[in-house]
Symmetry: C2
Subunit: 378 residues, 2 copies
């Protein structure tokens, strides 16, 4: 009856050669590996954790499929007698029921059964939809995440959240459904547009301030290498992000408690996205700017040193992300934040920093919030 989202624990095993790293998400019998490295989709060994079903279906979108579907399918033919491809339209606008229905139609036409394995080859939208299709096709089949964006590699790999949007709300319909494996191939990031790379870095940066000051320092040292898509730096960033997310999710299976700190930057960020209309700013851009504002709010409330808040802002800027919000007016910001899913009885719950590496969730006086908005927007 309750949303089951069991408590993962992460264990890492950096391989000696080739830079391949593996993070194991420990969930009892639903444990799964996250493999991180360059060129993984071309190596059949990357998929050893996946059951050898007769049929595999790769689900991708019109942008990613032409680039990578063939290479992936070639590897999968060593595990599955029949490997098929279903291509969805690209974009958040298609993360909806009609598109999911075409996916179900395709699975039924292909004769997919309870043993069929789905492979999600794409960003967050493909991952969320394929995961939800896997969760609900014949009441649950296996799926593998092959994330092709940095955001999906660090964010969707852990937590098991799947779903689609409803006209009246984002991610309103979905399930918790764990993949049997995640294969994060860093080579796939080569074709990622720079804006999307920066948006992914926002979620990487996030894990420093909320949980690990040492990782924050590491990102500061390697931010240029990350923007240059250096595979070793990317591997380390993805690995550590997945580890931290697993640790935070593992300490709090429900979203009400500690897990909420993963939403650092998201309260201001969602107001920016909703205020401008979704799609105007990328989610990661809004979160980047939101982290700057949340850090500033933490400083104004006397929780965080002013210089530490500026340190976050500087790193967000160096990641190629905006540090000033759009001029919506403080009233509009407050109104949008009050209707956020995370608000409780109209009281806005902010994820704030009490020091770098340590977050907490609390409310703040409207006046102080207004001061931050006025200083950081427009």
């Amino acid at each position: 009856m309750k949303a089951t989202d069991p408590q993962p624990m992460a264990a890492s095993n950096p391989a000696a050669a080739g830079g391949l790293q593996t993070v194991t998400i420990a969930l009892g019998e639903r444990s799964y590996p996250i493999h991180i490295g360059a060129g993984l989709i071309r190596d059949p060994a990357s998929f050893e954790a996946v059951p050898r079903s007769a049929l595999a279906v790769v689900v991708s979108n019109t942008t990613v499929a032409p680039l990578y579907a063939e290479a992936l399918m070639r590897s999968l033919r060593q595990r599955h007698r029949q490997v098929e491809l279903i291509v969805l339209p690209d974009g958040e606008a298609h993360k909806d029921w009609p598109t999911l229905q075409t996916l179900f139609d395709g699975l039924l036409r292909l004769g997919a059964d309870r043993k069929t394995v789905l492979y999600a080859l794409g960003g967050g939208v493909v991952g969320d939809m394929t995961g939800f299709a896997a969760a609900s096709y014949m009441r649950g089949i296996a799926f593998v995440q092959v994330p092709t964006t940095l955001l999906a590699q660090v964010d969707s790999s852990v937590g098991g959240k799947t779903g689609i949007n409803h006209p009246l709300g984002k991610n309103m319909i979905g399930a918790f459904h764990q993949p049997v494996a995640v294969v994060a191939d860093l080579e796939l990031l080569a074709t990622l547009p720079p804006r999307e790379l920066a948006a992914g870095l926002a979620e990487v940066v996030k894990y420093g301030p909320i949980h690990d000051a040492g990782f924050l320092g590491w990102i500061e040292e390697h931010i240029d290498a990350l923007r240059a898509r250096d595979p070793a730096a990317l591997a380390q960033a993805v690995r550590r992000s997945c580890e931290i997310k697993a640790a935070v999710v593992g300490a709090d299976e429900r979203e009400s408690g500690l897990r909420a700190i993963l939403n650092f930057g998201h309260t201001f960020g969602h107001a920016i996205e909703a205020g401008l209309g979704y799609g105007e700013w990328l989610h990661g851009e809004a979160v980047g700017c939101g982290m700057v504002m949340a850090s500033a709010l933490s400083a104004r409330l006397g929780l965080l040193g002013e210089s530490d808040a500026q340190r976050v802002a500087r790193l967000v800027a160096r990641a190629g992300l905006p540090v000033r919000g759009p001029l919506l007016g403080a009233d509009r910001y407050l109104e949008l934040m009050r209707v956020d899913k995370k608000a409780e009885a109209g009281e806005i719950r902010f994820v704030l920093l009490e020091r770098l590496g340590q977050a907490l969730v609390r409310s703040a006086p409207d006046k102080t919030v207004r001061g931050v908005i006025d200083a950081h927007c427009g």
Copy 2:
């Protein structure tokens, strides 16, 4: 990743007064009670296991809502500040995505959040759809089953299966999602059409031959009382059916093994339903006739005594169910059974009896199956 359908164990606690009986389905932290008795929906105490959320939404259909929604809602107002009603169209034809979408629309318009509790007031269709809505709304909220048909009381109360149909297949999209409570009010059966009562009795009868010869004897003794809707007899029938289903499901969490015996009568039954077009015969009617044919097949294969097969047939007849199948021809029967979800690589898997109270799953020579069809159809 795998369909999680944890192993329930049942424990019964027949109350001294008033005939209230409770079967507890033991699923660790997802354990829930099945309360069985007359007049339960009018008693707020029936819902004590349900969280006291601010909002409750009763989901029903156009046939049941006018009869029972008001009484249920009156009881629920003692547990929930706000109690709302969503009425779906009646019938299996509406167990589809568009109808589910109207349910999601309604929940969002009512401001349902993660703590909202859904109450499924209806038969199997309402229960399956409400359960799937609860499984996927905001990735999972609590729901209560208030089954209003005998079939739903004995069949849907245990197992956690929820879902909707797809144009290309029944129950193709769904989830395993356990209710927080089941309230089986025997008074609600008073308005059930006789055909539907008999169809529900088919599933009750089923539990005897497959698992409990003693229960089979008890049903034989009480079949007239059951058809007369005697509350004490119905309570016992529902209780024992739920216990047996819980025991069988508990011994085999996947559907491939022992659990398959719950499909006794369903292989022939599905062929009847599909061959005539769904809706022509009620599911329980087809299962009743299917049990007669499966028993006859068991006898022809030398597994079961001929007199025992006739004992099953006599009870099915006394329950008011058909014992002869429609004349589709043996070829058509075989063809329909071969495409059944439970067939493996075209080989039909029959649930057969090796004695009354003991079932097994195996294939059978086409020639023997044809003999049974020719003898029992038309």
